[in-house]
Symmetry: C2
Subunit: 259 residues, 2 copies
């Protein structure tokens, strides 16, 4: 570690406290957990997460969540959007997740990371615009790279918990699906994320009752009877829509905690 003189800084002079603290600040970063559904031909669309490969130390060569330092005047949301854009991803759902600050999370220094949670539609063209320069790819949640950089595995776990708990009272699942989709698609999305089977009859009934779907009149072949294609009526997400899966909730038991 070389020590040398680096800078002669020019700063604005203002009242005492502000001045004092302006010289000693923790580092702040943003990391983004972007989920999407695998665009598979086969059954069972997997839930996937976007990871990038690190070039520099520490953890050079390991996979991590897209992220970057926060510039002095930059909005946190903006860092998240910038990082996603760098990976070729443009239109997505984005919300703040949690702020991580365990001191050991970065071996170099203490870094506070504001984590974001994002969803990308399965049919977003951006899905394939990856690998254009950046070393980024999608990973199935059950086949993640062994040790990830920093505490990114923890962040990912919190993000999955959030996604699961939000399925119960939001329409987030619809944001993962393509513009048009079938009821079996939707059911399978819930099952993949919740990690268990749902009853077809009860599921369809709840969805129908919510009146969130617009039939397109078209159908899709599937080996058996073709399934009707629907699109999501975002206009119908009028406030108090609650979606509750008793079976799912009781079976889950472990972990969670929400926030």
């Amino acid at each position: 570690m070389i020590i040398c003189v680096i800078s002669t800084q020019i700063v604005e002079l203002t009242p005492k406290q502000e001045q004092r603290e302006s010289m000693e600040r923790p580092a702040v970063a943003v990391d983004v957990v972007l989920f999407t559904l695998a665009d598979e031909i086969e059954r069972h669309r997997q839930l996937q997460v976007l990871l990038t490969r690190r070039y520099d130390e520490p953890f050079a060569g390991r996979w991590c969540l897209p992220g970057d330092w926060v510039r002095p005047e930059e909005l946190l949301d903006h860092v998240a959007l910038r990082e996603l854009a760098a990976a070729g991803v443009e239109d997505m759902y984005l919300e703040q997740l949690y702020t991580f600050d365990r001191p050991e999370r970065d071996p170099r220094q203490r870094v506070i990371s504001v984590a974001y949670f994002a969803l990308l539609r399965a049919d977003a063209g951006a899905r394939h615009a990856l690998n254009n320069g950046v070393d980024a790819r999608w990973w199935n949640l059950d086949q993640l790279p062994q040790p990830m950089a920093f505490d990114h595995h923890d962040i990912l776990r919190v993000a999955v918990d959030r996604l699961r708990s939000k399925l119960e009272y939001t329409t987030l699942a619809f944001l993962l699906l393509p513009e048009v989709f079938t009821l079996p698609d939707l059911k399978q999305t819930y099952e993949t994320i919740l990690g268990e089977e749902l009853d077809r009859g009860n599921f369809y009934r709840k969805i129908k009752e919510a009146r969130l779907l617009q039939p397109t009149g078209r159908r899709r072949e599937s080996g058996g009877r073709p399934a009707a294609l629907y699109c999501f009526r975002a206009d119908r997400t009028e406030g108090d829509f609650v979606f509750r899966w008793r079976e799912a909730r009781s079976a889950r038991r472990a972990g969670a905690g929400t926030s």
Copy 2:
């Protein structure tokens, strides 16, 4: 605003990116929303929040949430605990709330604030240890000081939303009550926080079913039939305890959003 040369800094040289960012960092602060129940003789214990008065500009003289800058190596939780201790508050429930970063929230400069959410038991001795040096006091939620400093009114609103939504699926309400309390106390706590009446019979039934209470055998006078005193069996909060008030939820409608 005077411009002058302030420092000739000595820093450690390490790989390029880290070095670059170490010189230009956003400021980071922690603000805490501490709730408690008013220890009133009269009916209807109010929900209260702890505010401190600012001495310095900006917003000198206005009331704000307890908070401070984050020291370079200091844990965020620790800043929250430190601030609460400075106000004489020691044992409390604490969890991270949300990270606020609207650029206009501080007129001096861009400050990222990690907000915390805390609950203090109504009978905590610390409740009265206030005003020992620090200019801090409890405010009823419906009589807050008119303009608060920074965006602290927004932070408070998010904290109230969080408290409300967590009442539905946690035992947080028990953490606000004294060590021993009556069912009417508990019911009134829920009502105060949710902002509406609950049916006594249905409420008692749910609480009893949850088997969370330990009878103490004692009673408390109350103008009519004395109410039985209970204490909370924390050991019984074994994971899957769900507390759901349909009446409350449907009546609320507006706002919310959780996180």
